[in-house]
Every structure is written in structure tokens, then in C-alpha cells.
Assembly symmetry: C2
């Protein structure tokens, strides 16, 4: 017997923890590891999914905080209602109504970011083995959340009209889907926007089949050109029976600041009440401090000018990126320029393997996300996602030059 | 066929939503409904579980917010790490070390209140049908969380030494427990503190049986007299093999302000890494805005004086409540005065049914929580929980006078 067995915990055999089956199946993204190198300052990162920090309205948020603490400190600092602070709920409801969404028969719940809205809906609806339909390529954190609730995710391919929802009629489902989850405008990563025709079709399908459609709309506020499409929640008013089968989530992360961690979830009232019970078990309520600051910020009237500034900067950046890519790669790289959002989704027509390209790109001083990272199963290898939100036009052009250098080296190698 | 079938969605049959089995089993507390009347200003509420709002250090938090937004606005407003903001994690780690807790081999995760810490641990460990051991009476939101993760909760009775952990040896478990969850000092609702002897015994049991013990310590900072006991996490250093089987959660809700929604979770590193993946699916991360404000607040050095003020007020209130109860009820109401926390747990020796008493108490202008609300199954009917944190000594005395009036009426009736 070893003599040191009790001298140090480190010499004992490592304990074996029995994780839940669902937690054990959660994997850390290998791309996350690869991209740690992208956090160095000299790397021009087109890999992130962040809004531009230098555009945050710090001055407005500072004033809003002072207003919140001066007006009613207890509201900001005490426990609050699970559904959310009244002032913020009313402000968000007003925003929804401005977008043509009638709220009769629906209720709005403030969430800890829209990620929590996904988790709430997942836990509200999904039992082990249930089917969720998503678009493919997918927002991976949503897949993780649905998987953590025990669900299996099936993907709808995308084209220039967004997710091919008509495929819902012909897909072979192991069981009837419980949920269809779509990022409707400017999807992450593809940038695709669901067309009006498909929105109507989907609503009719949802009403006919009694399946909840959850519309995730984080990027709609970042539209810089083109016609704004009515949301599924707004359109549902014209499709008999559809209103009862549409949920909607959005966030202040892109319009104001992600650090507040404020999103919201609109559901038919019967579902919203059950959703509040689920949320209560998750975190009692979302930070009332952040909520009161946001309510004062929205009441302060600075948001429209702030959004105009953000949209202007993103448009300039997106155009710079697109132009540089066209000049650097010509026909070797295809993409369609989206009318907003934060992402460009491109593919190499010469079959370049973007995952293999990434180390060379990082070595050349730029970062992107290989497209296969956004697929749960079989994935094309020739895609990449480029974010244009956080870098200046000049740095975006330099980033593209570095990408071209890496690409050329890979073609020679 | 009705002619109005398409004129109004309200005339259509209400849709039937298929909730997940776990969400469908979540019930709204009937006590919550009863106590809505307690929110009226003329009602003296001893029913709440809130800290005293008038004692919040608004001035300190205002200064901390300005410091956070002036020093590094991007840190407060941008997306952050799932594990938490570095400055806050370091400050919380320093607090843990001050309490004798060695952090080698452990990691600290910032959570959206300690409620989320419970949810993270539940989802990390629990599969359908798993067993969690709790104390009885119980913190109900913890039971809800464990149930939402599919677990069944079994209760340890309490006595003056806290939960009777020795019963773990003789309880008939349907399967080996995955988790023991205990509020160690000043439990809610009982106010009981787990004795040093039982802490040691529990750690030996956990190491021998390889079962995680989660220590929830929201109220330890509210100790006003008596000897502070070492936490399970601190004691575990002296019990061979125990460190690997102790988790710990606490919160800034009682020390600073609940509205920040900031808690933390300390786990052995291997579990903490898996916990971060779970948390990422839940809300990406906790509000970086609230975290940076809290980090600046803790760095500002005002907390000790603030806590002294809070403890002084709570002690005065608790004493006033206890004295008034002794004078009003004599031997008809038994309780032991805790050395801290926010709650008094009492029982009527004359067999008064406290749930039946509540309407009369509300009618007389005071509120409490009937004790049976804190039991999942069979419950004694003669207990009640009285909170002393939010009312002044004068209002507490008046509240007791109203309770006595209701009690006398109930004895006549």
C-alpha cells in the first residue's frame, strides 16, 4: 500500500462524477478552442458574434442608471416579479405593438437574454426524444439548449428565401415535431431572411398541424436597407388559427448592449403563465437592476438615434468587407450581401476546406469561423462565416488581404 | 356551421398545448395567491422573504456603477465569459478564502442568483427519477428546480442541530442519491443551523458514498451573534476524500442587493467545467453590467460597514418580534430565536391550524406563511414562518398584536 495515500488529495484517484446524460452529451466547441488565438490584439477577428463595443451608448446608459437609482432605488435593487419589471415590460410591449404585433391573448416575459427564452421554451415543451425543427446551418447555442432539454433537432436547408419550410410537408419525422425554431431575419450564420411567401406558408402549416413556431428576431433592428418584412407574430393575425401557435423572442443585446442580458419572450397567455413558472425555477427573475436601467434608457428617447448610428456603421463595414472580398477573391468566393445583421456567409467555389484554412489564416493574423461549425451532422467544408460588426473598414480590408494570403498559401501547399 | 367561425380568434376552441411532463407538473403555490392581499400597504407583512429595501446601499451602488462605466464601459456592456467577469470572480474567490475555503482544485462560476446555481447543479447531475436529499421543511424553489430536472426529493427532518443527516444511513432510497442539498446556516424556513458535529458526519458520509453535497449559504452573512461555524467547504479540507464531494453556493442578494441577481457556485474543477457548458446553454452568461457594478462595489470597501448596519437592524427587529410573540402568546407559541438570518419558525402548542388562521390574520391586517407551504408531502398544520427583515420593530409589534387578535377570534370561532 502506498504510504502517501492520505497526505494529499491530489494523489488520490480522481473522483468519477456521474453527470446527467444530457449534460454529459454537451460538448465544448472545438472552434472555440481554435479561436482563442483570435483574442490577441494583432489578430483581425471576423470570427466574433459581438456588437461593436465602441458604439455602445455609454453616456445614455449612465444617465439611465442614475435615473433608475434616483427615482426608485428599491425597484432596481429589490427582488422583482418573475414576469419582469412593469416599466420594462410596458416599454417592450409598446415596441412590439409598433411592429404591428397585437398582444391581446399573449403575454410578454422578460428573460435573461434571448438565450434564456430558448431554454424556457425548451423546458416548457420538450420531453426526451421530442423533435425540434431548426434551420441548417444553425445557431449552435440553440441546438445545445434543445439537446439539453432532451430533444433531437432536424434541419431545414436554406436557400435565398431562407429556410425551406415547405420541406416540413415531406420530411420523415420520427414523431410529430413539438417546435419549429427559426431566426427569421438575417439568420446566424447564413444571413438569410425568411421570405414573406414562406412566412405565410409556415403559419398556415403551424395552424393546421398545431405546432408552435418560435421566431427568434435578434437582428431585425440591424436592417440597413430593403423592405422590412412583417414578423411571423404580426402576420399571424391574418392567418386563421395561427396566432395561438406563434411565439417570439428578441433581445436588447444588439439594439442596446449584451451586457445587460435582457431579452423577451412573447407567448400565447396560457403558455406564458406556464413559462413564468419554469423561469421562476431557473433564476427567480432577471436582474431588476438591469431591467430598470433599460426601462429608463428606452424612456429616455435616445434609442432611435443610437440605432441609426449603429446601422450606419454596420452598413459601411459590411460594404467594405464585401467589396474587399470581391476584389480579393473574384469568383472564387461566392456570397450574397445581406440587407442587415452582423454576418456574411460565403463559400469557396474552388472547394477550399475552410477548417483546414483556419490555422493559416490565424498565422496570417485574421480569424473567421469555418462553416462546418454550424452543422450538427454532415457539413459542407467550403463555407465560412465572416462578421463585419466589430472591425473598422480599414481593418476589414486588411483582414481580407490576410485571408487571401492564407488562401494562396493553402493553394500552393 | 357557425357563421362567426373566422371572425374572431377568441371564438375558436382554446388550443391545447402539450407541455413537457416536467413543466406540466410545476404548480403555482396556492400560498402565493393567498398572500397577494399581503401586498397592500396597510398589511404588516411577516410573510416575505425579502431583505430590507431601505437599508440598501444605494449611494455605494451608484458610485460603483459610475466607476464601472467610467473605467471600462465595454466590460460592463459587452458579452462576457460564461464563468463570469474576472474582477468579480476574483473578489468572490477572495471572500471565500477569507472564510477558510481553499480553492485549489475548485472553480468558481458566477450565476444569475443562487437559484440558477441550483438549476445548474440539477441539470448537471440529475436524470429522470434520480434522488435528491433535502431538509424538511424545505426551501420550495429548490424543490421546484430539482423536480423540473426530473428528480424526486426525499426529506431529512430537522431538530435543534439542523437536518438529521445521520438518517442518511437508515433511509430507504429507491436508488442511490445523486445529491444532498442543505441550507446550512439559518435555513429557510426553519432558521436551523447544521451543527459542527453533523457537518463532520455528513462530509465523512459524502466521501464514503461518493455523493455530492451542495451547501447553500445565503444567510451566513446575516449572523448577529454566536459562533460562526466553518462551512462544509472549509471543513472538507480536514476530512479525507471529502473535498471532491462538496459544492457550495451563495449570493450577493442578502449582502448587497437581490436586484443584481448575482450568486456563485464553487465546484470541483472537473464539475465546474461541465457546469459552465450547462450554464452557457441557459443564458450564455450572467449580466456583465451587474457583475462589473458588484466588482466595483466590493472593491470600494463599503461592504463591511453596510453589513454591520444590516445586521444591527435585523437583530433589533428579530428581538422585537421575539419579545412581542412571547408577551402575546406565552406558552401557546413555541420557537427558538435564531442567531441570524431573516426568519423565525414557530409552532402553536394548542394545535392552531395556521393555514386556517391566515385569512383571519389578513383580515386583521397582518400576513405570515403557513408552515405546511414548506413541505412537499404530509405537513404539520401548526407551524408558521415569520420574517423579521422588512418591518420596523414598531410595525412588528403591531403585526403580532394583529396576529393575536386573529388567533383569539379563531379560538372563539
Amino acid at each position: 500500500m502506498s504510504t502517501d495515500q492520505n497526505t494529499d488529495q491530489n494523489t488520490q484517484p480522481a473522483p468519477r462524477y456521474a453527470l446527467s446524460a444530457r449534460a454529459a452529451a454537451l460538448r465544448s466547441s472545438d472552434v472555440r478552442e481554435l479561436l482563442k488565438a483570435a483574442q490577441q490584439a494583432q489578430v483581425i477577428s471576423l470570427a466574433g458574434g459581438l456588437p461593436a463595443a465602441e458604439l455602445f451608448d455609454t453616456e445614455g446608459l449612465r444617465a439611465a442608471t442614475l435615473a433608475a437609482l434616483d427615482t426608485n432605488p428599491a425597484a432596481a435593487l429589490q427582488y422583482g416579479l418573475t414576469e419582469g419589471q412593469t416599466a420594462l415590460r410596458e416599454a417592450l410591449q409598446a415596441r412590439e405593438r409598433e411592429q404591428g404585433i397585437a398582444l391581446a391573448g399573449r403575454a410578454l416575459l422578460v428573460t435573461t437574454g434571448s438565450q434564456q427564452a430558448l431554454d424556457i421554451v425548451a423546458r416548457l415543451l420538450l420531453d426526451e426524444g421530442d423533435v425540434v425543427v431548426v434551420q441548417r446551418p444553425s445557431y449552435l447555442a440553440a441546438l445545445q439548449t434543445f439537446n439539453l432539454a432532451g430533444a433531437q433537432c432536424l434541419g431545414l436547408d436554406e436557400d435565398e428565401e431562407g429556410a425551406r419550410v415547405e420541406d416540413l410537408e415531406t420530411m420523415a419525422f420520427p414523431r410529430k415535431p413539438k417546435l419549429v425554431y427559426l431566426v427569421t431575419p438575417f439568420a446566424n450564420p447564413s444571413g438569410a431572411t425568411l421570405s414573406l411567401r414562406r412566412r405565410r406558408w409556415l403559419l398556415e402549416w403551424a395552424a393546421r398541424n398545431e405546432v408552435l413556431v418560435l421566431e427568434d428576431d435578434p437582428y431585425g433592428v440591424l436592417r440597413t436597407e430593403g423592405q422590412e418584412l412583417p414578423s411571423l407574430a404580426a402576420l399571424a393575425q391574418d392567418v386563421p388559427g395561427a396566432r395561438a401557435w406563434v411565439g417570439r423572442t428578441s433581445t436588447l443585446s444588439k439594439a442596446v448592449a449584451p451586457g445587460l442580458r435582457l431579452g423577451w419572450l412573447v407567448l400565447p397567455t396560457a403558455l406564458a403563465e406556464a413559462a413564468a413558472r419554469v423561469k421562476q425555477s431557473m433564476d427567480l427573475h432577471t436582474s431588476s437592476f438591469a431591467q430598470e436601467v433599460a426601462a429608463h434608457y428606452l424612456a429616455g428617447g435616445r434609442l432611435p438615434a443610437h440605432l441609426a448610428r449603429v446601422r450606419g456603421a454596420y452598413r459601411e463595414r459590411r460594404r467594405a468587407l464585401c467589396q474587399a472580398l470581391r476584389e480579393a477573391f473574384g469568383g472564387a468566393l461566392e456570397f450574397s450581401e445581406p440587407e442587415g445583421g452582423m454576418f456574411l456567409w460565403a463559400h469557396f467555389t474552388d472547394g477550399t476546406d475552410t477548417r483546414a484554412l483556419l490555422p493559416a489564416a490565424l498565422a496570417a493574423g485574421m480569424a473567421f469561423v469555418p462553416g462546418d461549425a454550424f452543422y450538427a451532422g454532415a457539413a459542407p467544408r467550403d463555407r465560412l462565416r465572416l462578421s463585419f460588426s466589430t472591425e473598422t473598414p480599414e481593418r476589414l480590408r486588411e483582414g481580407v488581404a490576410r485571408l487571401r494570403k492564407a488562401w494562396e498559401a493553402s493553394r500552393r501547399g
